[in-house]
């Protein structure tokens, strides 16, 4: 089969690889009908997250049709079923899964010893996202083996196009959880840093959860226009002061809720010297993340407010303003998304026409063009916001 394979920094190729096989009775194999490039795939493209090896298949936003099931799938899936594959691999049986904390499933990371060394404890296995999270082959391929398939799936009905359903795998529940974690109240202002695909979903989620005002922060006109279409007031951080504008829009009080949808690769610019320092330190491996957005959120958030982190961070961040964080009594909530906790509700909202997540797709191309699209997406060429690949 064809698959997008990581060969090194900025080197992803469309290779011919062997087809996946059932390895465990709880496995299923799907024929991929649609998959997407995620913003967090770019961290791997840049080799900022350790643990990728040449030959690893990329991708964790995937859906398709079941073509083979193991004997232990126990009737929960059958050939021909149409499923979206959550990016978190879950067993459905461990203590964390029973609590709904699916992204920290205690069972599915088959290389948990690596994660335990780095993070203290292991988190769930993820598709196509380094050997720290199990080294599972990803879904930017023609076929995908789904481990623990009896639990790791979202069954979706026929009649709704892939494009509306695919993002149940990651970005829609990620944006949704980011907003839910904010405990949004009808009087709240929610400020969202980063208007990439997850940011766009977080904006819509905050609107659906009843925020009084949503403010979106980015520097790319196409993304800001999409954010505005979704109901946000926008701030272009290249032409305006984020702190001044946020204070202006909240009568000097600051937003009650702040969401980070930018993560570890915050924009670097001369007018924000901390971003230059972070980039320099990241380059010489003195710091793994560039936490400018976290610093800014802590600074502007209203005392007593909530900071929700949906953007990916990989390791160590310097110069965190813990004094402001502590003295303002802020709460920070984070985490990879517990996809299956939210997908029943989100699928219902899609079916009822409350939301159509396909609005974010700007490019749809064959899988073979995937490597070039990584560059287009990274460079923000052709006003690219979200790429869907068709195997």
């Amino acid at each position: 089969m064809k698959a997008l394979v990581w060969h090194g920094k900025e080197d992803i190729r469309c290779d011919s690889v062997t087809d996946p096989e059932i390895q465990d009775p709880r496995d299923a194999i799907i024929k991929v009908t649609s998959c997407a490039i995620c913003g967090s795939d770019l961290h791997l493209f840049h080799n900022f997250i350790p643990g990728m090896l040449p030959g690893d298949i990329m991708g964790h936003e995937t859906m398709g049709e079941v073509v083979e099931v193991g004997s232990g799938v126990d009737g929960k899936l059958k050939k021909g079923d149409r499923i979206v594959v959550p990016f978190t691999i879950i067993c459905g049986e461990c203590d964390q899964c029973k609590r709904g904390n699916f992204s920290v499933c205690e069972t599915t990371n088959r290389k948990r010893h690596l994660a335990e060394k780095v993070f203290g404890h292991s988190c769930a296995g993820l598709f196509g996202y380094t050997h720290l999270t199990g080294g599972y082959p990803g879904g930017q391929a023609e076929y995908l083996r789904v481990p623990y398939a009896d639990a790791t799936h979202i069954k979706v009905p026929a009649g709704i196009p892939d494009e509306q359903l695919l993002f149940l795998s990651d970005i829609f529940p990620t944006g949704w959880q980011a907003a839910v974690q904010c405990d949004i109240e009808p009087t709240d202002t929610v400020a969202i840093w980063g208007c990439g695909p997850v940011g766009q979903m977080a904006i819509r989620s905050a609107i659906l959860l009843g925020a009084n005002q949503v403010i979106a922060i980015d520097c790319l006109p196409e993304r800001l226009s999409m954010a505005e279409a979704g109901g946000a007031t926008t701030i272009n951080f290249e032409t305006e002061s984020v702190v001044e504008r946020l204070n202006e829009l909240t009568d000097g009080k600051g937003p009650e809720k702040c969401i980070d949808c930018a993560g570890m690769e915050a924009h670097v610019m001369a007018s924000q010297p901390d971003t230059l320092l972070d980039r320099a330190k990241q380059m010489v491996m003195l710091e793994s993340d560039r936490p400018h957005v976290l610093r800014e959120m802590i600074y502007v958030c209203r005392p007593g407010g909530i900071i929700s982190v949906a953007g990916v961070y990989s390791g160590f961040s310097d110069k965190m303003p813990m004094g402001a964080f502590m003295n303002k009594g802020l709460t920070m909530r984070t985490g990879q998304t517990h996809v299956n906790r939210w997908t029943d509700d989100l699928l219902r909202r899609i079916e009822q026409g409350e939301i159509d997540p396909s609005f974010v797709i700007t490019h749809t191309v064959p899988l073979s063009q995937g490597p070039e699209m990584y560059q287009v997406f990274r460079d923000k060429r052709d006003s690219c916001v979200k790429v869907v690949l068709k195997p």
């Binding site: 394979v5 060969h7 920094k9 900025e10 080197d11 190729r13 469309c14 290779d15 011919s16 690889v17 062997t18 087809d19 996946p20 096989e21 059932i22 390895q23 090896l53 040449p54 030959g55 298949i57 050997h131 080294g135 082959p137 083996r145 009808p186 766009q200 819509r204 609107i207 659906l208 009843g210 925020a211 790319l220 006109p221 196409e222 226009s225 999409m226 505005e228 279409a229 979704g230 109901g231 290249e238 980039r279 380059m283 010489v284 026409g353 409350e354 939301i355 159509d356 997540p357 609005f359 974010v360 700007t362 490597p371 560059q375 460079d379 923000k380 060429r381 052709d382 006003s383 916001v385």
Partner: protein, 180 residues
């Protein structure tokens, strides 16, 4: 490398049969080579400045050579990173500083001036490569002033934004009872 990485793969996971075309262009390979060269040269300058100054007949300038070594190492690291273009331009600037320093030693009373001439020739050659690589690896990001597509009609709410807002307000007015 694949042989090594296959060791950590589970039997049954897909393995490469035939590789596809690489995204790496010749200029990326050149940038990489120059990056490693820069780190190597920088390490020599930092660790053995006396040998260099003695070879060039420029004794007494060891601190300057050491500082140039640090500069070379940093430019090399940058040339190997995703910001390689900045690293390569830093190298081009560094080549200018190298040439200026060498020219200052090219005096009639320097018995090693032929070595300096040779070093200048080498700096010139490397500078040409650095400049070429810096030109060819310019980021392909569209300029800020470039005309971009805008997406003002992509609300994502099939029933409209106001409907989404009012639906949320209704839920807020009639909250779900708390679970007992």
């Amino acid at each position: 490398m694949f042989h090594f990485s296959n060791i950590v793969r589970t039997k049954g996971d897909p393995k490469i049969l035939e590789g596809g075309p690489s995204l790496k262009r010749p200029e990326d390979q050149l940038a990489r080579a120059l990056g490693w060269f820069s780190i190597g040269l920088g390490a020599v300058e930092f660790l053995a400045p006396r040998r260099i100054t003695a070879t060039l007949g420029m004794e007494g300038h060891e601190t300057l050579v050491r500082a140039f070594g640090v500069r070379e190492i940093l430019a090399g690291i940058m040339s190997l990173s995703v910001d390689k273009n900045a690293g390569l331009w830093a190298r081009v600037g560094g080549d200018g500083l190298d040439a200026a320093a060498l020219l200052s030693g090219l005096t009639s009373d320097n018995p090693k001036k032929s070595n300096i001439a040779l070093a200048l020739l080498m700096v010139g050659g490397i500078a040409m490569l650095d400049y070429r690589a810096a030109q060819d690896t310019r980021p392909r990001r569209p300029p800020r002033e470039a005309r971009r597509k805008l997406y003002p009609n992509r609300s994502g709410f099939p029933k409209g934004l106001e409907n989404a807002r009012s639906g949320a307000k209704q839920i807020a007015a009639h909250p779900m009872p708390e679970r007992s």
